[in-house]
Amino acid sequence: MNQKEIVLDVKGLDVQVHSNQGKLQVVQDLSFQIESGKVLGIVGESGCGKSITCLAILQLLDRVQYVTQGSIRLKELELTNRTEAQLQKIRGKEISLILQNPMNAFNPALTIEKQFLETIYAHSKLSRKQAHDQAVKSLDEMNLPNPKELLKQYPFELSGGMLQRVMIALSICMKPMLLLADEPTTALDSVNRHHVVEALQIIKKQEKTAILLVSHDLNVIHELADEVAVMKKGQFVETGSVAQLFSNPKHEYTKLLLDARLTTGTRNE
């Protein structure tokens, strides 16, 4: 409708890795926008630079090893030249991240509650009681059973699917503008995948959060995304709306991906 709704605006993002073997271009000239309440799906094979893109948006890439160029704007705020202290205020509050493997994304030594509370304390001045209620509330919103008991548990006492939903709850408890979901369903079985997709759908509809969904699972992309970008070797080879891209792929690589999905789909059935 109008420009105010654009939450994330990335222009000309370039990422180079500097290693002993020399330089390697991992992300090349990416430009995309996400509006609030919309989901941009990025698909592509492993190692094509999807995860790097997420970390680049959060400015979490090691500055010695990675050289980043281009502009990343969160609403009106340019992220590329923020100080570490300013970024800390944005990470977790305005932009949240969901990682691929929930089993090792949580600190095994701390209860779920402690990890919720430290996140809430980092971004607000809530009391312990209020923070606790906030945590319970966001777990509840994700339809997780018995949130109060859940908070007392350690990450290793929960299943992977549970943890993934806990991670989603944790990432939305500060009501971020933007959610980066990096392969949120890859490590899960189909039942849990369904739960996670549902959870993301709730966020999309109710919170009006902009979501960047990175996945190589085309089914998930199909269910959630509004726009899709196909990534290969650090570049977008094709972008378009879900309907258009799935029904009428233009690029060879997109066709290849879709074919692969069809064959695995039929095999599953």
Partner: protein, 318 residues
């Protein structure tokens, strides 16, 4: 709560270990090439004849069957009776009451110094990987591995005490007396711990949960303290637990040099004269300290990583 149960279980597990150690300590002394009765006589300046030997054997209970001797000894140990020294004819426990605190203070003090110094050092060298401070720590670690403790002690005495007259030389009267010996013992530990911590930190920084904690916008203090350091310090805890026993043994050397009346000197004297009750007690104390050190380390580990207690309770369920 789980931690509490875990501690109790570990304490219960200690009992057979200690019991086994007492048996080994007892058995080894029966395997010595020299008859304790003869050793007793020679220390007491009595000419060993058939008659006197038999008399002493009877006095020491050596004429009884092996198992009976062991049970008797164990029973005495339960009453904190460690036997009577061959040399001084004073009960070993009386000496230990005076000497053990000195050694324990020394060992614990060095451990505390080592940990307090190596944490900032390890953090600094991890943050400035392959920079000046990191190379300094590496050099320190190398020195620690190549410089014998007794040499270090004399170097410290010579340069710190004699040249600059900073700390008193020998004895245990004031806290200053403990400074140099503790530093001697601590220096090697600092080298080890700071390297362990550095490598642990560098590994932890790669952990996904640290990345996730960063992504949640945690402040530097919370991030480093609660997530990185807590994870990275675990090898140091294990090493420190194992080192407690080593430190007690290391005091044998350091106590000699700084003329401190701890159990080390007492033990050495006993070794020269084959004063078996003292040797036996020392071996036993070493074993207990060693087991205790490991126990403390395990409990701290369990606190740092609750997965360990979890395993314990799961086993119980099965």
């Amino acid at each position: 709560m789980k931690l509490f149960v875990y501690v109790w279980k570990r304490l219960a597990m200690m009992v057979p270990v200690i019991l086994g150690t007492t048996f080994v300590a007892f058995l080894l002394l029966r395997l010595t090439p020299v008859d304790p009765a003869r050793a007793y006589l020679s220390v007491s300046n009595i000419i060993p004849t058939e008659e006197t030997i038999n008399l002493v054997r009877h006095q020491l209970g050596l004429d009884q069957p092996f198992w009976l001797q062991y049970v008797h000894w164990l029973w005495q140990l339960c009453h904190l009776n460690f036997g009577i020294s061959f040399i001084s004819k004073i009960p070993v426990s009386q000496e230990l009451v005076v000497r053990l605190p000195v050694t324990a203070t020394l060992a614990v003090l060095s451990l505390i110094i080592a940990i307090l110094v190596s944490i900032p050092l390890g953090i600094a060298s991890a943050l400035h990987k392959n920079k000046f401070i990191d190379h300094c720590c590496r050099l320190l670690a190398f020195l620690g591995a190549s410089l014998p403790q007794f040499l270090l002690a004399y170097l410290l005495i010579y340069f710190v005490s004699v040249k600059f007259d900073l700390f008193p030389l020998q004895g245990t009267e004031t806290w200053q007396h403990f400074v140099l010996p503790s530093i001697t013992l601590a220096l090697g530990l600092i080298a080890t711990y700071s390297r362990l911590l550095r490598n642990g930190l560098l590994e932890s920084l790669e952990e996904p949960f640290v990345l996730y904690a960063k992504a949640r916008g945690l402040g530097t203090v919370a991030l480093m303290g609660r997530h990185v350091l807590r994870h990275a310090i675990r090898p140091v805890v294990t090493a420190a637990g194992m080192n407690l026993g080593k430190l007690f043994a290391g005091t044998v050397i350091v106590e000699q040099i700084f003329a401190m009346p701890g159990i080390g000197g007492y033990f050495l004297e006993a070794v020269y004269h084959r004063d078996y009750p003292v040797i036996q007690s020392f071996v036993l104390i070493m074993a207990i300290v060693f087991v205790l050190g490991n126990l403390i380390a395990d409990v701290v580990q369990a606190y740092l990583d609750p997965r360990l207690t979890q395993q314990g309770t799961r086993k119980q369920v099965e």
